[in-house]
C-alpha cells in the first residue's frame, strides 16, 4: 500500500517536470524524421523508418530512466523531502520500491505514448504494423525494468553524476556483452583463464542485448514470420529481465536500509 502511494506520488512529481516533455518531444521528432532519413539514405525503404522508430523508443526510454532515475533518491536526501517521509510508519524498502515503481510507471506511460505515435505514423506512411513489432516493443518495456532498477540502485548508493555515469556505462556494456562471449571463445585456446573471466563477467553484467530483437522484428514481415523470436525464447528473456531487476532492487534496498541521513 505505502509502495503504491509513494509510486503514484513519484509519478505525479515526474510528469510535472519539464525534462520529461523535452525528452518526449525529441523522441517524437526522431520518429517523424525517420522517414526522411529513409528517403535520403536508403532510397525510401520503409524498413528504415520502422527500424529507426523502434530504436528511438528504446533509446528515449533508457534516457528517461538515466536522467530522471539516477537523481531520484539522491534528490530526496539532498532536498530533505525524505526526512518527513521516512518519519512516517513505513519501511525503507517500501520507499525504495515506491520510487522504483513510480519511475517505471512514468517511463511506461511515456513509452506507451511513443508507441501510439509510432504505430500511427507507420500506418500513415503505409508501413506494416505487425505483431513482431509489438513483441520487440514489449521486450523494450522489459528492458526498461532493468535499466530503471540500475538507475535506482546507483541512486540509492551515490551521487547523481556518478549514478548517471555508472548506469550509462552498464547500459552500454549490456548492449555489447554478446561480443564478450565471442571474444572469450576466440581466446579459448591461447588463454583459457581469460575466457573464464570473460564468462564470469558476462554472467554478472546485465545482458541487455537479449532484449534487442528489433532487427528480427523488422525483417519478420519480409520473411513471412509472425514473431521475431519464438514464444519460448521470449519467455526466457522476460524471466531473465525480471530476475535481474529483482536482484538489483534487493541490492538497492540492502544499501539504502543501512544509510544514515
Amino acid at each position: 500500500m505505502s509502495v503504491w502511494i509513494i509510486a503514484l506520488n513519484t509519478f505525479k512529481e515526474a510528469v510535472r517536470d519539464k525534462i520529461l516533455y523535452v525528452l518526449t518531444v525529441f523522441a517524437i521528432l526522431l520518429i517523424l524524421v525517420s522517414r526522411g532519413i529513409g528517403w535520403v539514405s536508403y532510397g525510401g525503404e520503409l524498413t528504415v523508418t520502422t527500424d529507426l522508430g523502434l530504436m528511438a523508443i528504446w533509446l528515449f526510454g533508457a534516457l528517461i530512466a538515466i536522467f530522471i532515475g539516477t537523481g531520484m533518491i539522491y534528490k530526496e536526501i539532498d532536498k530533505r523531502t525524505l526526512y518527513t517521509i521516512l518519519s512516517k510508519p513505513i519501511n525503507r524498502w517500501q520507499f525504495v520500491l515506491g520510487k522504483y515503481f513510480g519511475l517505471l510507471l512514468t517511463i511506461y506511460v511515456n513509452l506507451a505514448v511513443l508507441t501510439a505515435v509510432f504505430f500511427g505514423y507507420l500506418a500513415m506512411v503505409g508501413a506494416p504494423v505487425t505483431l513482431a513489432l509489438g513483441q520487440a516493443l514489449a521486450l523494450t518495456f522489459v528492458e526498461m525494468t532493468v535499466v530503471t532498477a540500475l538507475a535506482i540502485f546507483f541512486s540509492s548508493a551515490s551521487t547523481p553524476v556518478l549514478s548517471a555515469i555508472f548506469t550509462f556505462l552498464l547500459f552500454t556494456i549490456g548492449q555489447l556483452t554478446k561480443w564478450v562471449v565471442d571474444l572469450g571463445s576466440v581466446l579459448q585456446q591461447s588463454a583459457p583463464w581469460a575466457e573464464k573471466m570473460l564468462l564470469a563477467l558476462y554472467r554478472v553484467m546485465p545482458n541487455l542485448h537479449n532484449f534487442n530483437i528489433r532487427q528480427e522484428a523488422v525483417q519478420a514481415h519480409e520473411l513471412h514470420k509472425a514473431l521475431a523470436i519464438s514464444p519460448g525464447e521470449t519467455l526466457n528473456v522476460v524471466l531473465y529481465g525480471l530476475s535481474y531487476t529483482a536482484a538489483l532492487l534487493l541490492a538497492a534496498i540492502f544499501v539504502f536500509r543501512r544509510r544514515n541521513f
Binding site: S2, I5, I6, N9, K12, E13, R16, D17, K79, R80, T81, Y83, T84, I85, L86, S87, K88, P89, I90, N91, N260, F261
Partner: protein, 351 residues
C-alpha cells in the same frame, strides 16, 4: 498496534544514546552524542536546548529513525525506535522542512496522511481544516516550490500533526519565522499539549521556550548538562533590581550613577539597576532625597537565557570535564557497567 503496555511509560525515553559520525576515511570521527538519557513525560511540552552543534538534530534523527544510534537505545511510547511501529506515534517536522516542488499544499498533506494510514474524505477534510488553521487557505492549490520558508514551516507542522500522533517532535520549529508565525506555532504547541499530546522540540529561541515548556533539557557538546522544570533550574535569588523614578531630569544624579550598576534616562523616567535588595533600598533613599519619586521597583530573577549561558559556558565546560573524568574512572573499575545498565533498561519495555 500499540506495543506500549504501561501508561506511565515515558513518551520518549533514551538510554546511553551515543552517536559517532565517520565522515570519511582520512577524517577523524566525531562524537556528536556521548551518552544521553532522556525521560520525556507524557502530555508535556519539553524543550531540548543546546548551542549550534550540541547534538540536538542528531538526537532527533535517531528518534525518528533517520539515523541509527552508534550505541544505546531509544523508545517512543514504549516502542523501540528501530521498529516502524514506533513511528505510528510520531509526528515530525525537520529543521527547515522541504517538500516536493510540484505538488500543491493540499496534495502534499493528503500524501502524508495516506502514508500515515489515513484515507478517504475524512483525510481531505482534516487536511483542509489544518490548511485553514495555519493560515494557508489562499495557497491551498499553490505548488510547494512557490512557498516561502515560513509557509513551508507551517505546512511542516500541519504535516506533523495531521494524523494526531501521541508525540510531536519538532526540530527548530520557530527558526526563521516572523513574530506572528512564532505565535501561531506556540499556540499550536500549547493546544497539542492540552489535547494530551507530548511535544518535544529543539530551539535556540529561549524566550519562547521559557514561556511554554514544562521541562527542558540542555545539552552541550553531546552531553546533557541540565534537566528539569524551568522554575527548578533557574537561580531563584534576585539577581538584579530595576527601579524607575520620576522627578529626576535627564542630567541625573551623579552619586546615583556612580553607585548603581547602570543608570539612564529613558526620556520619561530615570532608571536604575541595583545589584540586590539592600543596595536597591539605599539607592532609593538617595534618589528620593534628590527629589525623585519611585514609580516602579522590579526584582529580576535569572532568565533562561542567563542560565543557558551559565551552564553551557565555563561552568558547563567544567561539569563536562568532571563527568567525563568520572565516567573514565568508573569504566576502569567496571568496564561493562555502562552496558549492564543499558541491559537492565531493556527488560522493562519489552512488547
Amino acid at each position: 498496534m500499540t506495543i506500549a503496555a504501561d501508561a506511565n511509560e515515558s513518551a520518549i525515553r533514551t538510554r546511553a544514546l551515543r552517536m559517532v559520525y565517520h565522515p570519511g576515511l582520512m577524517q577523524r570521527s566525531k562524537v556528536a552524542l556521548h551518552s544521553l538519557n532522556l525521560d520525556v513525560p507524557r502530555a508535556s511540552i519539553y524543550g531540548f536546548l543546546g548551542q549550534n552543534g550540541a547534538g540536538k538534530t542528531s538526537t532527533i534523527k535517531i528518534l525518528v529513525a533517520l539515523q541509527m544510534a552508534s550505541a544505546g537505545r531509544a523508545w517512543i511510547m514504549g516502542t523501540d525506535v528501530i521498529h516502524p511501529a514506533a513511528r505510528q506515534h510520531i509526528g515530525f517536522m525537520p529543521e527547515n522542512p522541504y517538500f516536493y516542488e510540484y505538488l500543491t499544499a493540499i496534495e502534499t498533506l493528503v500524501f502524508y496522511g495516506k502514508l500515515s494510514g489515513m484515507h478517504g474524505p475524512s483525510l481531505t477534510k482534516k487536511a483542509d481544516a489544518l490548511i485553514e488553521q495555519f493560515g494557508l487557505k489562499q495557497s491551498r492549490n499553490t505548488r510547494m516550490g512557490e512557498f516561502s520558508k515560513g509557509m513551508r514551516q507551517r505546512l511542516g507542522l500541519a504535516q506533523a500533526v495531521l494524523h494526531e500522533p501521541a508525540v510531536v517532535i519538532l526540530d527548530e520549529p520557530m527558526s526563521g519565522l516572523d513574530p506572528l508565525g512564532r505565535r501561531d506555532i506556540r499556540n499550536e504547541i500549547l493546544a497539542l499539549r492540552d489535547r494530551g499530546c507530548t511535544v518535544f522540540f529543539s530551539s535556540h529561541i529561549l524566550g519562547d521556550v521559557a514561556d511554554i515548556c514544562d521541562r527542558v533539557c540542555i545539552i552541550h557538546k553531546g552531553q546533557h548538562v541540565a534537566e528539569g522544570p524551568i522554575s527548578a533550574l533557574l537561580n531563584q535569588k534576585v539577581v538584579e533590581v530595576e527601579m524607575a523614578f520620576s522627578g529626576i531630569g535627564p542630567e541625573g544624579l551623579p552619586r546615583l550613577a556612580e553607585q548603581a550598576r547602570r543608570a539612564w534616562h529613558d526620556g520619561r523616567l530615570y532608571r536604575l539597576l541595583a545589584a540586590d535588595d539592600d543596595e536597591a533600598l539605599r539607592l532609593r533613599a538617595e534618589a528620593e532625597a534628590g527629589g525623585g519619586t519611585l514609580r516602579a521597583m522590579i526584582p529580576h530573577h535569572e532568565s533562561l537565557e542567563e542560565y543557558f549561558v551559565r551552564v553551557t559556558g565555563e561552568e558547563g565546560e567544567l561539569k563536562l570535564l568532571l563527568d567525563r573524568a568520572a565516567e573514565a574512572a568508573s569504566k576502569k573499575n567496571a568496564p561493562v557497567e555502562g552496558e549492564k545498565a543499558a541491559e537492565a533498561e531493556e527488560g522493562a519495555p519489552a512488547p
